[in-house]
Assembly symmetry: C2
Homo-oligomer: 144 residues x 2
DNA sequence: CTGGATCCGACATGATACTG
DNA sequence: CAGTATCATGTCGGATCCAG
């Protein structure tokens, strides 16, 4: 491998109890961003991961189908992205032993729950894109 | 500037009607990931943004305080991160005209709503870290 | 068709020195 | 104290060639 294969040298756990409380110290979860949060965040933040997840959330797709639907992705990145998602248990890869190789990809139940969570972030973006754009315009204008 | 100052050459809008529907095509929002979604995602996915946001969600902090609390961040990245967050309207920067320069940083209301949204992703991570870790272990074990 | 292996450029981050 | 400027480096993503 070469890139996002970070071997995660080790991570503490045990504090993994449900954290629904609002008034918790940021250190409770953010300090250890090298452990789990960042791992997932890096996966989600990838240039194509989100798109692949969204596509697979609709229906299972073949390698070529994904390649065609995304259009703009290199087979290299599609492969890398799928491998990462598969390794994290978010995507299931099924190889059909037929003459022309056929491989299907689909979201696992875990992947589907992540997609649901991610949608919240996307929704936030859609709801506040105007405000962010305005803030940027104001900032850029003032910085002259 | 040098890095994440991506000038966003332009982005379509007008389709910006409220998108609260659940059964929408992934293309409805993911294809244009160069426009808004990715912009925000890149900000959130940054190595330090999340940590800074979490810290500021508790209380306003000075530059040095952030630097000391985070411990591991370079003054350079702290500056860059804060500038990005400020440009996006997530953080407010206040300069006090005193003898030894004093600058305060605090989340804007927009930044606070983003923090809330982000927490969902963090929560997901905490709730499923075990499954992800297991999936990785299984994947790595099988790949030999 | 479904990838694996390489080379390479772009950008993000870190380290260090300097300044108002 | 709160940065800015510069240089070094690691990683990500793209292009290309090769293979089962």
């Amino acid at each position: 491998m070469e890139e996002g294969t970070s071997k995660s040298p080790g991570y503490r756990e045990g504090t993994g109890s449900s954290v629904d409380d609002e008034d918790l110290d940021p250190f409770q979860w953010d300090t250890r961003e090298d452990c789990e949060v960042r791992q997932i965040l890096d996966r989600v933040a990838g240039k194509w991961s989100l798109l692949v997840i969204a596509l697979l959330d609709r229906r299972r797709l073949r390698f070529t189908e994904l390649r065609r639907e995304i259009d703009g992705i290199s087979q290299r990145m599609l492969t890398v992205t799928l491998r990462q998602l598969e390794r994290d248990g978010l995507v299931r890869r099924t190889v059909h032993p037929v003459v022309p190789p056929r491989v299907d990809y689909e979201l696992t139940s875990l992947g589907r729950t992540l997609h649901t969570t991610i949608r919240a972030l996307v929704t936030w973006t859609e709801e506040h894109q105007t405000e962010v754009a305005a803030a940027r315009a104001a900032y850029d204008a003032a910085e002259r």
